[in-house]
Amino acid sequence: MQEILQYLFSGITSGAIYAIIAVGLCLLYNSTELINFAHGEFVMLGAMGLVTLWVHCELPLPVAFVITVAGVSLFGLVFERFAIRTVKTPDPIVLVIITVGASILMRGGAMLIWGKDPMGTPTFTDLPPLELGGAMLLFQSVWILLAALVLCLALHLFFTRTLRGKAMAACAISRKAAWLAGIPAEGMILLSFMMSTGAGAVAGIFIAPVTMSSYDMGTMLGLKGFCAAMIGGLGSLWGALAGGFLLGILEAMGVGLVSSGLKDAVAFLLLLLILYVRPGGLFRATEAARF
């Protein structure tokens, strides 16, 4: 029982990370119907940025956090401006190849900049792990959970309470209609790219202290984020959150109860299953709202 609880805790921790990544993917999918195969690489950039600024340059944590998120969002802006908007024929196959190319490019670039060795960071706070029902919960996990919830809540408020958020939601529903209503659609797409990659960076920053950061961490995380987003029904914010937790917990149980080698296979089997059986997501029956 204690073991199960321990697996549950580690599942919730990684689940929250997957949820943040999935939310980033959904943000982008909603406004552009594009699935960014390079999303995981932005997560990696977030983790690497934090390691560099916080550990190596010894900036205070909040400053390093802000600079990293801003830097990665800026990178997302450059990516949209130069690699996506310039595409003449935006067929899915072309955009898939471009984003896969961007992902390989960023991965290779990160390898040249930071080298191949994984890098660690200390946890955000020096607090001891919490003991709940005989199982240990790292304090960093609490931070990760808080980050996922705060991010979702903030995005929810952004889309329902602010004019800009509503404009973006309008763009997601129909770009042309939004344009007719005087909403600058291109700017909104740029903004959603920045928010999406920024969310990716947040995920990377929070995961850095619990796993080692290396140049090749992104692909796996991006795919798992996509898997979580698909479980929740692509495009739904709260679905992505639920999908992330579900994936994290199932994965942790698979590792604990079957074999640790199967850790990554769980996500992909789940992904294929979802793609085949319920491409609309697990919760589509209840018609989850898009935001």
Binding site: P92, V96, G101, A102, A265, F268, L272, L275
Partner: protein, 328 residues
């Protein structure tokens, strides 16, 4: 694109094709006869393997317009299938060839039925997921595949009294296979099936409306390209005699996609060019290993932005346009 192929099937195109074949055939034979350096022969053999891979994926991606980001899985199934059967069970390599390709065909069929119902991004993700699962399986199933440390002791090929142990013989074996594969692909592309494949690329609904059984055709071409990848995997395993999971991971799949993209989607000769370029580049540039991913990424992004038909096709288009401009 379609216009070019109608021209190609015309008589003028036919002589051009015959000439191209004669040139390629002579080049292959001359290289076999005069290249002495075993290293060069080895590079030429690897080019041949990559040509088989690129041709198979080109049928699927270039002609039918269905992306696969997990094609290295079939390459791996071919290599590990024959490796396990010959090294662990002592089965004759030629029997292992049939079994390994059959295995790839069966897996491709089982995976293809649900996966090819997907399209666009979902197909990309589905095939990517499949590739990852196969890679993980190869890495983790250590009792059978040798795990991360790889599989050793794969015997070299021989047919009766002819041994393919020497690089020259192996080179000739691989390249005669390549010529056969090129001819098979050309015949498919120029047949009714090839036209139907291109129609799926342009619009799946429209081709279904004119009576093309699109799901059946997509499945056939997926299985065929998987079989070709497994064939290349077979030759690879018996050539290097040691295989490890790294050769069949995500980067390997991306490399295959890059070859097709460089070669020009939907062009057999382009696929040849793409395979040559991506095999020779790492051999020429010494520090290429470090820049491999950056270079692939740059190629994929720039070619897709400016020439979504592929590099070769794009360059030919620009050339033809400039020629027309001069005439006017």
């Amino acid at each position: 694109m379609t216009g070019n192929h109608t021209a190609e099937s015309a008589t003028a195109g036919k002589t051009a094709t015959v000439i191209r074949y004669a040139v390629l055939f002579t080049v292959v034979l001359m290289a076999g006869a005069f290249v002495e350096n075993p290293y060069y022969l080895q590079v030429l053999t690897f080019i041949g393997l990559n040509v088989i891979l690129a041709l198979g994926l080109n049928l699927l991606m270039g002609y039918a317009g269905q992306i696969s980001l997990g094609h290295a899985a079939f390459y791996g199934i071919g290599a590990y299938g024959t490796g396990i059967l010959t090294a662990n069970y002592g089965i004759s390599p030629w029997a292992a060839l049939i079994l390994a390709v059959l295995l790839a065909v069966i897996i491709a069929y089982l995976v293809g039925v649900p996966t090819l119902k997907l399209s666009g991004y979902y197909l990309g993700m589905g095939t990517l997921g499949f590739g990852m699962i196969v890679h993980i399986l190869i890495r983790e199933w250590a009792s059978v595949t040798g795990g991360a440390s790889g599989l050793v002791g794969i015997p070299s090929l021989s047919l009766g009294a002819i041994s393919f142990e020497s690089p020259r013989n192996y080179y000739l074996l691989v390249w005669f296979t390549v010529l056969a594969v090129i001819e098979i692909c050309r015949r498919i592309v120029c047949s009714r099936m090839g036209r139907a494949l291109r129609s799926i690329h342009d619009s799946e609904n429209a081709s279904r409306a004119v009576g093309v059984n699109t799901s059946d055709l997509k499945l056939k071409v997926f299985v065929l390209s998987a079989a070709l990848a497994a064939l290349a995997g077979f030759f690879y395993a018996h050539f290097v005699s040691f295989i490890s999971p790294e050769s069949f991971g995500f980067i390997a799949s991306v490399r295959m996609v890059t070859m097709v993209v460089i070669g020009g989607m939907a062009s057999i000769w382009g696929a040849l060019f793409g395979a040559v370029l991506l095999t020779v580049l790492p051999e020429v540039l010494h520090s290429f290993a470090d820049f491999e991913m950056v270079v692939y990424g740059m190629i994929l992004i720039t070619v897709m932005i400016f020439m979504p038909q592929g590099l070769t096709r794009g360059v030919i288009d620009i050339y033809e346009r400039s020629k027309k401009g001069k005439l006017q």
